[in-house]
């Protein structure tokens, strides 16, 4: 309930539009009910008048019928326009709020480092909330608004019929859907698990194609897939069965209600307590009254899904503790920055081992340093800590300016990323043009600056071959990039930024020798007065830096020049030699 109210609060800015949509939708429903009931009455009255041979004013009801028909269609159109517009407004509201929340959380709270499926889950959750108004809120408002009106009219004719009808409305609109939703909810976990298992098995079959052939295990694997697929299907079947049953039951209740009303009214008509034409009218009226709860079942089925999505999203928002106002340091620095780590350790939650353990190192301002190590040795963690998006667990991490040193954590994000230029390992190419991608790094850069950066990052000839130049679309729906190209776009972005401490991840990967040398020459020139920390295993690169830091299993194994390491450490040569 609490989450439902929070969701409603989210709707508040667009309440006017939402209510207008609900009003029009209710009008459609009422016109529909009225149309059927009046048609029934009209027919009966005309027949009665015909038989009795009396005159009857048929212009008014015929007019009303035509009027209601038009109202129904017109309000339906208006309703669909308004409600869809409202849905979009709300959708944008939810997304902006979500994004604002996520951008304020640090990456540990987001658990971004570990689970790639966070984004998938968020996607499902936001998708579920997209339909909150249209599929949940709207049907509830319609029912709340129209049921009393319909009941009032019906009870004016016969209270008993109205009561029966009301009970049935509740069965169809609330009881059945709640039971169904409960049942489906119970199944949902098994369903999700089986679906994930099937997906994993299918993925294995595709990825392990060669191994399955060599180990002659294809048939067994296909049987496994088939078994799992059938298991998943039979699980789905319980869901479909429940829905089919509920649909059958709905017909049963609706028709039976109509029959019961007829049973109640017939004696009244027979004794003359009720006018005969009202029998035809009420029979149709009862049938039509179920329009008021037509969309309600779907609402109750989706409600738990939306609520649990909302709960997850709100709990993310709640993680964000409003930090007590803290005076943030200013760097006021126009020169290269040094770096000092003292006793830095880091352990990911749930991990057995330390990702970093008691790291002590310092990098002097203006130095060029390389970081090497096997996968899992702690390179990425070190860069993560430098970004400040992963809060430090122990030890201290200081930036060294000309006269003073500053704890990284005392800088706010703005100041931090003014000073640091970081190309992360999971570099993301956004869905958008090349220009838009580059502008994320430098919003005010001119096209000349962008082209210059591309040229410096050795993307010049690639760019020249692009028909649309900077307007070339990249990302999921755009041009496919090779790994090397996307790394170089990252370098171009880094070149556009002004930070005084630069961190790069494998900048020379998949470059030929000639290009590699000219890229390194350019970078040396452009960043001559900056401090540069590079993750690299490329001997060409390592040969050019002042110092190599060699990490192994979260600790510093050695810290020396490339030449010294090659001289004294056979393991080091083995590490950096790959072909």
């Amino acid at each position: 309930m609490y989450n439902f109210i929070r969701l409603l609060k989210l709707c508040k800015p667009h309440a006017g539009m939402l209510l207008l949509g609900a009003f029009l939708a209710s009008l459609t429903v009422l016109a529909n009910v009225g149309l059927l009931a009046i048609s029934g009455w009209f027919l009966a009255a005309m027949a009665a008048a015909g038989i009795a041979g009396v005159h009857m004013n048929y212009f008014t009801p015929a007019g009303v019928i035509r009027f209601l028909a038009i109202v129904r269609t017109a309000s339906r159109y208006g309703e669909r326009m308004i409600t869809h517009n409202a849905t979009f407004l709300l959708l944008s509201e939810v997304r902006v709020k979500m994004f604002a929340t996520l951008s304020r959380l640090n990456n540990v709270d987001l658990a971004m480092s570990r689970s790639a499926d966070l984004v998938n889950r968020l996607q499902n959750d936001v998708d579920a909330l997209d339909k909150f108004y249209l599929n949940i809120l709207l049907p509830i408002i319609i029912a709340l608004f129209t049921i009393p009106i319909v009941m009032a009219f019906m009870s004016a004719y016969n209270a008993k019929v109205a009561l029966i009808c009301f009970i049935s409305l509740m069965i169809i609109g609330v009881l059945l859907p709640v039971l169904l939703s409960h049942k489906l909810h119970k199944q949902a976990d098994t369903e999700t698990r089986l679906s994930a298992e099937l997906r994993a098995e299918l993925a294995d079959t595709l990825k392990g194609n060669r191994e399955l052939a060599i180990y002659q295990a294809h048939d067994a694997q296909l049987t496994r897939c088939d078994t799992l697929s059938q298991q998943y299907n039979s699980q789905l079947y319980t869901r479909h069965k429940a829905i089919a049953n509920s649909n059958g039951l709905s017909i049963f209740v609706i028709q039976l209600t109509m029959l019961a009303s007829v049973f109640v009214i017939i004696p009244l008509v027979a004794t003359g307590a009720m006018k005969n034409v009202e029998l035809a009218m009420l029979a149709l009226f009862v049938l039509a009254s179920f329009e008021t709860v037509l969309t309600l079942p779907a609402a109750f089925i989706e409600l738990p899904v939306a609520l649990s999505a909302a709960e997850r999203l709100f709990s993310l928002a709640d993680k964000q503790t409003p930090a007590p106002y803290k005076k943030h340091d200013q760097v006021n620095n126009q020169h290269a920055l040094g770096l000092q780590l003292t006793n830095v350790s880091y352990q990911y939650s749930g991990a057995h081992n330390y990702a970093l353990r008691d790291i002590n190192l310092s990098i002097a301002a203006g130095n060029k340093v390389a970081l090497v190590g096997a996968s899992g040795s702690g390179k990425t963690t070190l860069v993560n800590l430098l970004t400040g998006l992963w809060p430090l667990q122990s030890g201290s991490l200081k930036l060294l300016a000309a006269e003073h040193s500053i704890e990284l954590s005392s800088l706010d994000a703005n100041e931090r990323f003014m000073q640091l230029t970081i190309v992360a390992q999971q570099h993301h190419i956004f869905d958008g043009t090349l220009r838009e991608n580059l502008r994320y790094a430098a919003p005010d850069a001119t096209d000349e600056m962008l082209l210059q950066a591309c040229k410096q990052a050795e993307l010049g000839s690639w760019l020249n071959n692009l028909k649309n130049g900077l307007n070339t679309r990249l990302g999921t729906a755009g041009r496919k990039l090779s790994h090397g190209q996307s790394r170089r776009i990252a370098i171009a972005q880094a070149l556009l930024r002004q930070g005084h401490f630069v961190v790069l991840d494998e900048p020379t990967e998949s470059l030929d020798n000639h290009t590699k040398h000219s890229l390194l020459n350019t970078l040396e020139k452009v960043w001559a007065d900056k401090t540069v920390l590079t993750i690299s295993h490329d001997p060409v690169m390592l040969n050019r830096v002042d110092k190599v830091i060699w990490l192994e299993q979260g600790q510093i194994r050695a810290m020396a020049s490339h030449a010294e390491l090659v001289e004294n450490q056979p393991d080091y040569v083995e590490l950096i030699t790959r072909f």
Partner: protein, 586 residues
């Protein structure tokens, strides 16, 4: 949601035909479901008659409850029957859909297995996996809802017409005249509306993708200090799309507006005309009331078909990917079936050439002789043809089989499984299947005893960490061995290969930098294995080539150098250049 373009009308025709063809396996069930649904409609018509007659008798013939009870009791039983029929019909149609999905998935998997690894590598694992998983699921709505709704839209109005005409042909005429208007209007506005509807779905998808794309790149936006700016972008773009989409909807809804208007006006028209005929006494009330009751039911199936529009499109677009897989032609069938003579003596490759379709990539004129034991390394830059050569030796490129001779027999004459039984294979990133450690190992030898597992894992240096896992050999490995380090996965794959104890072990050394302890351990194990087996390795590490008995150096699909480490380094060729990268710049 995808941004993939929907198939156009012409393509939709063929895809619908494809989907129809695949419904054969459950056509009985589908027909049953549709029959049950149609029977429900017939009972519905009958119950309208019962109700109308009862009401008529009470209203105009002063009948009491007792007099009409013989009409109302059958009505009650019809209601029960109809409820059962509706539930049953829906159950059967979803059962049919489930059956078709299972058949479809099996067919796709069998075909993919036949096509070999190259197809899904070319298409991308992700895309192929989506077709197999979500794509097949997307067919459910198509078969369970859309197909029956098409049948109902033809059958139910027809049934109503057939019943109405004998009772009152004039009312029948009204139906008959208004009915074609609906399909007519549907076609008229449908063309435009379908196009618009597609646009609308695509725009929604674009909007969704934009948001989730930025969410995926959130860390990067933070690094660029760009989150505040992006927030404005998101709200701006949402607003723009709202404008654009509403413009589309304005027209798209117009088509359903026209439809609804027509249906509503038709019902109203029927009501008014019948009213007047009742007034002038040319029609009895019971018939008039039946017509009024049936009027909405007459138009309902046509309108319902519209609500399954999206199910139809989803199904059809999913089908496009499936057709692509099923109609993909296999380049070469392997027909050899003779028994390979064992034990392995030697392998001769002579003039082996294989190029991927439509590219220049591949291997050209490879000739080499391999002994029956020893460590043979293959090196070269990426794209030099090492993997292709290995795929040929593994028997995955059937065209190349005639160039490979084993013990004097051409591979093209040998039964493929017979040859593959002689091989063990470890790729760069070994596939650990979604099952226990023991079952992963037993993939190589289903009847291996526990002692054999222990021996193989000890040899591969994996026993210690497997025993340290929460459930030891029974620990379930998640997707791609989640929870294990790269080195550990590699050692399990190695143990699996050792378990098979195949005469030939082929492996693609991991390029990833494993910790030096693991690297040494794996190296030693492989060298030991090479003492009495043949080991072919795509080498990426210095240590491996130093210990190799022979090294083949590849460039642009050809073997350009071969020899020992010592010989090759002295030659000052490509190999010397590759190896010296690490040390030369001292």
């Amino acid at each position: 949601m995808t941004t993939k373009p929907r198939p156009n009308r012409a393509q939709q025709q063929t895809l619908r035909a494809f989907l129809k063809q695949y419904s054969q396996s459950a056509s009985g069930l589908l027909k049953l479901s549709i029959s049950l649904g149609t029977l429900n409609a017939l009972l519905m018509i009958a119950s309208c008659y019962l109700l109308a007659n009862a009401v008529h008798q009470v209203m105009f013939e002063q009948a009491s409850l007792q007099t009409v009870t013989p009409l109302l009791w059958p009505l009650a039983s019809l209601i029960v029957l109809r409820a059962l029929l509706v539930a049953l019909s829906e159950r059967v149609s979803s059962l049919a859909a489930l059956k078709i999905k299972t058949v479809m998935r099996n067919t796709l998997l069998a075909k993919l297995t036949k096509l070999g690894p190259a197809y899904s590598e070319h298409k991308g694992y992700g895309a192929t996996l989506n077709t197999l998983h979500n794509g097949v699921e997307a067919l459910h709505q198509y078969y369970a809802n859309y197909i029956p709704s098409v049948a109902y839209s033809a059958l139910i109005p027809l049934a109503i017409l057939v019943v109405i005409f004998p009772t009152d042909y004039k009312a029948g005429l009204i139906f008959l005249l208004t009915a074609p208007l609906i399909p007519f209007f549907m076609i008229l506005v449908g063309h435009k509306a379908e196009q618009l509807n597609q646009e609308r779905w695509q725009q929604l998808a674009v909007l969704g993708n934009y948001f989730f794309d930025r969410l995926q790149g959130l860390t990067q936006l933070k690094l660029f200090n760009a989150t505040k700016r992006e927030l404005n972008n998101i709200s701006q773009i949402s607003d723009d799309y709202r404008g654009a989409t509403m413009g589309v909807l304005k027209v798209a809804f117009l088509s359903s507006f026209a439809l609804e208007f027509l249906a509503t006006i038709s019902v109203a028209l029927v009501a008014v005309i019948i009213g007047f005929r009742l007034f002038f006494g040319t029609l009895d009330f019971a018939t008039g009331f039946v017509v009024l009751l049936l009027a909405p039911e007459f138009y309902l199936p046509l309108r319902q078909m519209g609500t399954h529009y999206h199910a139809k499109l989803e199904g059809i677009s999913a089908a496009a990917d499936m057709v692509d897989i099923i109609n993909h032609s296999e380049a070469h069938e392997h027909t050899g079936s003779s028994q390979l003579s064992t034990p392995l003596k030697d392998i001769h490759v002579h003039g082996l050439t294989y190029h991927y379709p439509d590219t220049n990539e591949g291997v050209t004129d490879i000739s080499l002789s391999l002994p029956n034991k020893g460590l043979i390394a293959f090196v070269g830059e990426s794209g030099s043809g090492k993997s292709t050569l290995f795929d040929c030796l593994l028997g995955f490129h059937h065209q190349a089989n005639s160039a490979i001779n084993i013990n004097g027999q051409a591979l093209s004459d040998i039964a493929l499984h017979n040859w593959q039984a002689q091989l063990a294979w470890i790729p760069q990133q070994a596939t650990l299947f979604y099952r226990s450690v023991a079952d992963n190992l037993r993939l190589a030898k289903p009847d291996a005893s526990h002692d054999e597992l222990i021996a193989a894992t000890r040899k591969a240096g994996a026993l210690e960490f497997i025993n340290a896992l929460p459930n030891g050999f029974d620990t379930m490995l998640g997707e791609q061995g989640e929870g294990l380090s790269g080195g550990q996965k590699q050692r399990i794959a190695l143990a699996r290969a050792f378990l098979k104890n195949a005469p030939i072990l082929m492996l693609d050394e991991p390029t990833a930098h494993l910790d030096s302890q693991t690297e040494q351990l794996i190296n030693q194990a492989i060298r030991d294995y090479a003492n009495d087996h043949l080991v072919l390795v795509i080498a990426h590490r210095l240590n491996t080539v130093k210990h190799a008995d022979n090294i083949y150096v590849m460039q642009q699909g050809k073997i350009i150098e071969s020899g020992h480490y010592q010989q090759l380094t002295e030659q000052a060729g490509l190999f010397a250049k590759l190896v010296s990268r690490g040390e030369a710049h001292v």
